[in-house]
């Protein structure tokens, strides 16, 4: 395990990012740190608007013009992505790092054939058009598209949502990346398809040996697919560690509540789905101290001071003062 850490493929250190808006600066990410080991699958979970998607857009450096990284570094294979030129970044995208997007209905170009798009993304390879075509068909077959060669001339709207997501995965893996970022790839799909796509990713990860960041708000998928997990809340990391530690011994009240409100985990018949009361705080006007304090049932006076990341176990951290009280007590 520690060997993985040193051999990490991606390390994010104290990353802070803000959006300049007419209403003020939106501090979307604050002091985010995470590690991804080579060949491992990391889940990032959190409610909508917690900054998951912004975080991976930052890794890809595909941010809107009003975004501003105020602090931190993103080390990919030891090099800081934030210091790379746009040309260097472009060389990485779809090469060493690739991405699968959330909504398969809109993430493929509607007026170009699948084959055209799969050939276009091989723009860095020195292959003949024919070889590129064959390789595209090959990848389609590997993700389970029947009759792959003839389907190359089809357009995205001629595939179902599940099929399109398979195509998106095929495209992302075509360059055999070191890191695959999947941004809620199953959110737009129904449960059966979700299981299939997760199974497919699991199998392909074994074949290709790449590392995966899997962003989702579905905890069941994380338990199924990932080894490590980062729980985000309102632009901060609330808790991080191995899936086993975090899911079985959650150290942050937010993780605890998140686990309790996950419909997949509720076995008893309940009249009411447990929810987390309150709303995500405004990112312009953050609450004093711990960001979760206004919603936290266990908040106490110390929570008016921002908590650091306390150790909750081996490679298991949580930003909650409760941990300090336990160690002190």
């Amino acid at each position: 395990m520690p060997a993985d850490k040193h051999d990490g493929i991606l390390q994010i250190r104290d990353l802070s990012l803000a959006f300049r808006t007419p209403a003020g600066r939106l501090k979307v990410l604050r002091d985010i740190s995470l590690d991804l080991g080579r060949g491992r699958i990391l889940g990032i979970v959190g409610e909508s608007g917690c900054g998951k998607s912004t975080l991976i857009s930052t890794v890809m450096r595909l941010l809107p013009a009003n975004a501003e990284v105020t602090h931190g570094e993103i080390l990919f294979n030891g090099n800081d992505l934030l210091r790379k030129s746009e040309a260097e970044m472009r060389a990485l995208r779809g090469g060493r790092i690739s991405m699968v997007f959330q909504d398969p209905m809109t993430s493929l170009n509607p007026v170009l054939s699948i084959g055209r798009q799969m050939i276009d993304i091989q723009h860095r390879e020195r292959r003949s058009l024919r070889e590129k075509r064959e390789r595209a068909a090959d990848m389609l077959a590997r993700v389970g598209i029947p009759d792959a060669t003839s389907r190359l001339s089809a357009y995205p709207h001629q595939f179902s949502g599940g099929m399109r997501q398979r195509i998106a995965i095929a495209m992302a893996l075509m360059a055999e990346p070191d890191l695959l970022i999947a941004d809620e790839p199953t959110t737009a799909l129904d449960a059966t398809l979700e299981v299939q796509i997760v199974g497919l990713l699991e199998r392909l990860q074994e074949d290709f040996g790449c590392s995966i960041i899997f962003v989702t708000h579905h905890l069941g998928v994380v338990a199924e697919l990932c080894q490590d997990v980062v729980v985000m809340y309102a632009g901060e990391v609330a808790e991080s560690g191995s899936v086993r530690d975090v899911f079985h011994r959650p150290a942050h009240p937010y993780t605890e509540m998140l686990l309790r409100s996950d419909p997949g985990r509720i076995h008893e018949r309940t009249r009411q789905l447990p929810t987390i009361p309150g709303e995500i705080p405004s990112l312009i006007d953050l609450p004093e101290g711990c960001v979760f304090r206004p919603r936290c049932p266990k908040a106490f006076d110390r929570c008016f001071v921002a908590p650091p990341a306390y150790e909750a176990g081996h490679d298991h951290h949580a930003t909650c003062h409760l941990l300090a009280r336990e160690t002190v007590a």
Partner: protein, 295 residues
């Protein structure tokens, strides 16, 4: 450590929407230019009879086709009439036609659009076919054909403009009505027995009148163009009334001798259409950016 202390919530005073709109308009240089120019034009037009130094219609004994001078700011036309006075009074005709016909077109378009959006399917189809037909006629062709039949007059021009602009208003009214009519609150009200007139008056009208008014403001330059265009062709406002179009038409015959009448007739048209367009665009961007697509 004061644990009980809560973070103070300070709410800044929220400015009213009109105030915001006005501030946005002031921040938009073109919109501001449009606003100032429109105000200036409207004032000039209202005061035209007092501002005009000469009678715009009376044929004068003085110099003909004279270049601008202190006596005649914009020179004189082929009948010795003072072009400056004609331009001032011509503005009255342009704005009068614009106001009258847009008012009528807005009302009729609104009525037809509501009927199409709220009424039965066959009525919608019939009205849309009518709209499509009117739109498939180029305005000028329609105008020429109408004038052939009923002869040129101020009323004819207004009629032509009304007929050709009804579809613009009608379509937007219909789209908006359709968008609202299936909203849950309206379905609920219908279920509770509210009649169509009540629903139209209470829910639909307030929702669609805004976009229609913006559309109307953007239609002003179009209407001014149509009036001047038909008058230029000699089928608009009958002479000797000084429409900007007729001033251009008179001047055009003498364009090789002197460019002054043409320049004098064209500049107010250009300024007026630009002013109303810039203002209308700014208003639309502020109040209803979505309208850009519908119109």
């Amino acid at each position: 450590m004061a644990a009980t202390e809560t973070t103070p919530i300070t709410k800044p005073r929220l400015p009213g929407s009109f105030e915001i709109a006005f501030r946005l308009l002031l921040a938009n240089p073109l919109g501001l230019f449009g606003l100032c120019a429109v105000v200036l034009i409207v004032l000039t037009v209202i005061l035209a009879p007092w501002l005009a130094p000469y009678d715009p219609i009376r044929i004068m004994v003085g110099p003909r086709l004279a270049p601008p001078s202190l006596d005649h700011f914009l020179g004189t036309d082929q009948l010795g009439r003072d072009v400056f006075s004609r331009v001032l009074v011509g503005g009255r005709i342009a704005l009068l036609v614009a106001l009258a016909s847009i008012g009528a077109a807005l009302t009729l378009g609104l009525a037809l659009g509501l009927a199409a959006g709220f009424g039965p399917r066959w009525l919608d189809n019939a009205i849309m076919l009518l709209f499509d037909t009117v739109r498939s006629f180029p305005v000028v062709i329609f105008g020429l054909a109408t004038v052939t039949v009923v002869g040129p007059s101020l009323a004819t021009i207004i009629f032509i403009v009304v007929v050709t602009s009804i579809p613009t208003f009608g379509r937007v009214a219909r789209t908006q009505t359709m968008a609202i009519r299936n909203d849950e609150f309206i379905v609920a009200e219908t279920a509770m027995g509210a009649g169509a007139p009540r629903i139209v008056a209470v829910h639909i009208l307030p929702n669609i009148i805004g976009p229609l008014l913006i559309l109307a403001s953007m239609d002003i330059p179009v209407v001014i163009t149509i009036e001047a265009g038909l008058s230029f062709l000699g089928v608009g406002v009958p002479p000797p009334a000084p429409s900007w179009g007729s001033i251009l038409s008179d001047g055009f015959s003498y364009i090789r001798n002197t460019p002054w009448p043409v320049i004098a007739g064209g500049i107010p048209l250009i300024l007026t259409t630009l002013a109303f367009t810039f203002l209308g665009e700014a208003l639309r961007d502020i109040f209803d950016p979505k309208l850009r697509k519908d119109a």
